[in-house]
Amino acid sequence: MKTPILEVEDLTLHFGSITAAERETVIVYPGEFVGVVGPNGAGKTTFLNLITGYLRPERGVIRFWGQDVVGMKPHQITALGVGRSFQIPQLFLTLTVRENVLVGLATREGRWASAWRPLHEPTRVQAADEVLLQFGLLAQADRPAGELPEGGRKLLDVAMAFALRPRLLLMDEPTSGVSAREKFQIMDTLLQALREAGVTALFVEHDMEVVRRYATRVLVLSNGRILADGAPGEVLDDPEVRLAVTGRR
């Protein structure tokens, strides 16, 4: 039995009368590629916010690699090996594309407090450029991140998280805002990179085609509750699930 990467038990959070999370219980194993689906407001992003420490749950247990993390802050949980990309890309808009990745690399090296050697060290720049190449962003390396189009921003957001060499990568709608044609290209690139690096991933997604094609497992959220949890084929064809997610059976 493999050690689970992520264990969530009884996770609960309310915002006043709104149920953001209600007794959510999930276990994620290494190597999985878990798609998280659900209607708007189902609590998908909240789930990510909770397990990465951005929000504090009222009740429940969250464990990464067996370690209890409730109460830890995002930077501590990230340091454990959890990377995250965001629904609205969180970039350093005033830094160049390359610098966005360099900053992450320097942090990964434990050099965030280094005040002597420059950020743009040749070895680090090379490593950054490799990541940028994998994500198709090398051509824009010297441009400010703020100048990237929506799709490029999404990619950079994921690239930054990926550059940290996390063991678990959490992605919030990695392909939204991207043209249909590019979606599959991006997901193929992503999946290849993740498989080569042995990274487990959990991704929130609205596009059912993407989920069907790439996920090894699907979690369905609705009103803060986990409605279904299983193989894509079963879950996505379940009429109750379809009703909850799309409004039609």
């Binding site: 992003t45 916010n49 951005y54 929000l55 965001f86 629904q87 609205i88």
Partner: protein
């Protein structure tokens, strides 16, 4: 026992002055999200307006009790002129920019107003003692108290009560509260944000000027009185929680009472009480007593 009474009265009087002088700052921050460094010079303009009006009025030999009306009149005039002028003329161009930039802009306005008051009113002191003298003394707990202090208390209560009524009972007041809580939603619901901003800033300016006008009879009005006030007002508002009107009242009360106790029991601490209270409150409640946490959505 009588020392407790004295401390209580002293504290209450100082608290009412603090509240009067700080509430405008809290209101402006709550609605516009701008920490108005110029608040101090608006206070000074109120003091100068009030003082010069009282002096002119008294010299014309009019009914002495009219000086008590001259003070709020001057404050109102000053506030209604300066408020919209500063907001429409300067602040409007900074909305949406970093808070740091807005802070620096209000700091620039402060510098400009400091010299503007010197140019308008000169540098010699104004003594508008008439209202102070008029009200005489009151006997409490074995000592004579200037009755003017209680007028100040009354004005603070009226101002506070008026604001409370305005915020809870009038339509515009509720719009202001909505904007404090969620500007984006308010706009989505059809609120005219610029009108709210001008009106709120004008109100905040009037309150600052009111504080200044009613302070004038207690001091000699000279250049630079605004500078000290800024620090005090900031401390009160930070203790109470930025943007909270109840916080300004409670913060003022807390600081007022602690300072009065210090003055009578441990005079060496007097200057620092306000900062000690601030540090103590922030250690326990980092956003002030009534401050609200604003978690960024990601």
């Amino acid at each position: 026992m009588s020392q407790v009474l004295i401390i209580g009265v002293d504290g209450l009087v100082f608290a009412s002055w603090l509240f009067l002088v700080s509430v405008g700052l809290s209101l402006i921050y709550g609605v516009l999200r701008i920490l108005n460094v110029a608040h101090g010079s608006l206070f000074a303009v109120g003091a100068y307006s009030g003082a010069s009006l009282v002096v002119a009025y008294s010299q014309a030999g009019n009914w002495p009790w009219g000086t008590l009306l001259a003070l709020p009149a001057a404050a109102l005039a000053a506030g209604l002129v300066l408020g919209p002028l500063v907001e429409r003329g300067v602040l409007r161009w900074t909305y949406g920019r970093e808070p740091v930039v807005q802070l620096l802009v209000t700091f620039s306005v402060f510098l400009i107003l400091e010299d503007a008051t010197k140019l308008l009113w000169g540098v010699s002191p104004y003594y508008a003692y008439q209202p102070y003298q008029l009200l005489g003394q009151v006997h409490i707990g074995g000592i004579d108290y200037p009755a003017y202090s209680f007028l100040l208390l009354l004005v603070a209560v009226v101002a506070g009560g008026g604001l409370w009524w305005f915020v809870r009972r009038t339509r515009f007041g509720r719009v202001v509260v909505a904007v404090i809580h969620d500007p984006e939603m308010s706009v989505a619901l059809g609120v005219n944000l610029s009108r709210v901003y001008v009106a709120t800033f004008a109100l905040g300016t009037v309150l600052a000027a009111l504080g200044g006008a009613f302070t004038a009879p207690m001091i000699s009005v000279v250049p630079g009185i605004g500078v000290e006030v800024i620090v005090l007002a900031f401390a009160v508002v930070v203790v109470g929680g930025l943007g909270s009107l109840e916080g300004a009242a409670v913060g003022a009360l807390l600081i007022g009472l602690v300072r009065a106790a210090a003055v009578h029991l441990l005079p060496v601490l007097e200057l620092f009480t306000i900062y000690l209270v601030m540090a103590a409150v922030l250690l326990v409640r980092p956003l002030g007593l009534f401050g609200r946490v604003e978690v960024r959505r990601i």
